[in-house]
């Protein structure tokens, strides 16, 4: 079980309200990702759920029980910190066994659980080492191991992969997703990397300045962002926004079109422009095209190699069915 409900919770640090009244429901077994720009309150929200910070007002319900006043240890949640927060003077075995020891389990039961967790996480050979003698990825796994053995109602991850290099990050991302498939336990995962959010989540919660901008499945957010912020935040490279004459034709204040929904041609098209930088990734090419009356260059993604150079004149044609329209309040017009 791991069903968490946040009801009108707020958090103030002194006079500053970091989380305005917020409602959220997380279902049992869901993989929920909190994304948002730096400083938007993702960690704070996670720490409120964990009980490491007290809510200023509102209720937190875990599995139907009001947990607002319950101390962190009693909420049945396990957290994996960005800095791993391993205990440096204990061996890996002792680190993983620590929550069990605190729960008063006997030695044999502790060892059995630690060995089982170590096997799942490929840590069996490292059980007698200290955290200082492990690589970043191994430390991360120890931290996850320490969370698993408690058999929590939900796992909380605060940017667990941001200290790892790109290749390892992809690996660990898969391992965590795999773990979620195996355990089927609720997981709440904080990140500002939207690729992580898109690939891992069942449900993404997009936050800005403590406010929930939208909650939905990754593809919901991609296809039907509620407003301009979500549209710009989800998807990589970023959605292009155009205003003025370009938008008025579509009866909107702003229109947005994703880089992958624009066709490039050297002879004809809706908008003409001049190629700036082009990035060749092999599989894709990203072109940055300056068009008249728009400050920011338009990003275009085409598959494979295309033969354009810096300074070439090109024509762009947006896929009309994929254009998102936004009104004065930046809300998307369906």
């Amino acid at each position: 079980m791991g069903q968490i409900t946040l009801n009108q919770i707020t958090k103030n640090f002194g006079d500053v309200q970091v989380i305005p009244p917020l409602d959220l429901r997380i279902d049992d077994g869901e993989f929920v990702v909190f994304v948002g720009p730096s400083g938007c309150g993702k960690s704070t929200l996670l720490r409120l759920i964990a009980g490491l910070e007290d809510v200023t007002s509102g209720d937190i319900t875990i599995d139907g029980r009001n947990a607002t006043e319950v101390p962190p240890a009693k909420r049945g949640l396990a957290m994996v910190f960005q800095s791993y927060a391993l205990y440096p003077h204990m061996s890996v075995r002792k680190n993983i066994a620590f929550p069990l020891r605190m729960a008063g389990l006997d030695k044999e039961a502790q060892n059995a659980k630690v060995d089982a967790a170590a096997k799942v996480l490929n840590l069996t050979d490292y059980l007698d080492r200290r955290p200082g003698q492990l690589s970043g990825g191994q430390r991360q796994r120890v931290a996850i191991g320490r969370a698993i053995v408690r058999e929590p109602a939900a796992f909380l991850f605060d940017e667990p992969l941001s200290n790892l290099d790109a290749a390892l990050r992809v690996n660990m991302r898969l391992e965590i997703s795999e773990l979620h498939q195996t355990l089927k336990t609720t997981m709440i995962y904080v990140t500002h990397d939207q690729v992580e959010a898109m690939t891992m989540a069942d449900k993404i919660v997009v936050l800005q300045a403590g406010l929930i901008e939208q909650v939905g499945s990754p593809l919901d957010l991609y296809h039907a962002p509620r407003n301009k912020f979500v549209a710009g935040f989800i998807g990589s490279p970023k959605m292009n926004f155009l205003t003025g004459q370009y938008a008025s034709g579509y009866d909107a204040t702003t229109i947005g079109i994703r880089p992958e929904h624009i066709a490039v041609s050297s002879s004809e098209g809706a908008w003409s422009g001049r190629v700036g930088v082009s990035e060749h990734l092999g599989s894709d090419t990203f072109l940055y095209v300056d068009i008249d009356g728009v400050d920011e260059p338009i990003t275009v993604r085409s598959t494979g190699e295309i033969g354009v150079r810096h300074g070439d004149n090109v024509y762009l044609t947006p896929d009309a069915s994929k254009i998102h329209r936004f009104d004065k309040q930046d809300l998307r017009i369906p």
Binding site: P72, M79, Y87, H89, M90, F98, P99, M102, R146
Partner: protein, 288 residues
């Protein structure tokens, strides 16, 4: 300083300091060694010639030697115990967000700047005096018979005075160590279900272990040489004669320079043993 020229210039410029320091250290050391092999009684015949290891044997076999070693150990041990325990406590307290933190920290450090003689006098006259001392008043206020601190509990009194002086040092070092503790570790242990006492025992204390070792070693070196506090209060009576004080008595009260010097050499050896441990630990600290 890469060139030959600049290197020799540096050597010449450092030379006076090095010579001064060496002289400062070596002259007393050689004189102590020199006298320790002589029978030298300034008021009773002066230099009476070489006696080999006679002084060393006599110093150790004197009836005052072992009790003085014991006293020294009790004082050093007692002060270490009090300063480390209270130091850890104070460090934890001072690490909490606190109103007027800056001022409190300065107040805590202040005793370190009071000269040992002065602080011992203040304690002796203002606190421990059986008639006018603050403690006497406190005892009388509760209807109890004032304690004659310096004669009834002489060792404890001296330990108290010396601890008061060294507590700031311990607190300061332990405070910096505590501040370097990753707060996420504490939060992680909190989530792992560790109550406050377990958090202290499993996370904070191990984190402080190195700082505590350093405090213990540095203090030991200085505490072995505690003198002013004893001189000002009990003058070595009531079983408060430490090794240092014994040496002082041999040299100045019995006017036996040779015997005192032999004791001094023992003290040097003792302090150096501690110093070697200290340097190893500090060295390890700098390596890792």
């Amino acid at each position: 300083m890469a060139t030959q020229h600049s290197r020799s210039a540096a050597r010449i410029m450092m030379a006076p300091a090095v010579v001064l320091l060496l002289g400062w250290m070596l002259i007393p050391l050689t004189m102590t060694l020199y006298f320790s092999f002589k029978k030298f009684l300034p008021l009773r015949g002066g230099d009476l010639g070489w006696v080999g290891f006679d002084n060393y044997v006599r110093f150790v076999s004197s009836s005052a030697f072992w009790p003085s070693v014991q006293t020294t150990l009790i004082i050093v041990g007692g002060v270490l115990l009090i300063t480390v325990m209270l130091g850890v406590l104070l460090a934890i307290l001072l690490d909490q967000p606190l109103w007027g933190q800056g001022i409190v920290r300065i107040l805590v450090i202040a005793p370190f700047f009071v000269m040992p003689t002065v602080s011992a006098l203040v304690w002796k006259n203002m606190f421990m005096d059986p008639v006018n001392g603050l403690f006497a008043h406190l005892w009388k206020f509760f209807g109890a018979q004032p304690v004659e601190w310096l004669s009834d509990a002489p060792l404890f009194s001296i330990i108290l005075i010396v601890s008061w002086q060294w507590l700031p040092f311990a607190t300061l070092i332990l405070l910096t160590a505590i501040q370097s503790l990753d707060s996420e570790q504490l939060e992680a242990s909190e989530m792992d279900g560790a109550p406050p006492l377990a958090r202290f025992g499993f996370i904070i204390l191990p984190h402080l272990s190195r700082a505590i070792t350093i405090v213990v070693l540095i203090q030991t070196i200085f505490l072995l040489a505690v003198f002013a506090e004893i001189f000002v209060t009990t003058q070595g009576s009531f079983g408060t004669r430490t090794l240092t004080y014994l040496i002082f008595q041999r040299v100045l009260e019995s006017q036996n320079v040779g015997l005192g010097s032999a004791g001094g050499v023992y003290a040097i050896i003792l302090a150096n043993i501690v110093a070697i441990f200290l340097m190893r630990i500090v060295g390890k600290n700098l390596d890792s």
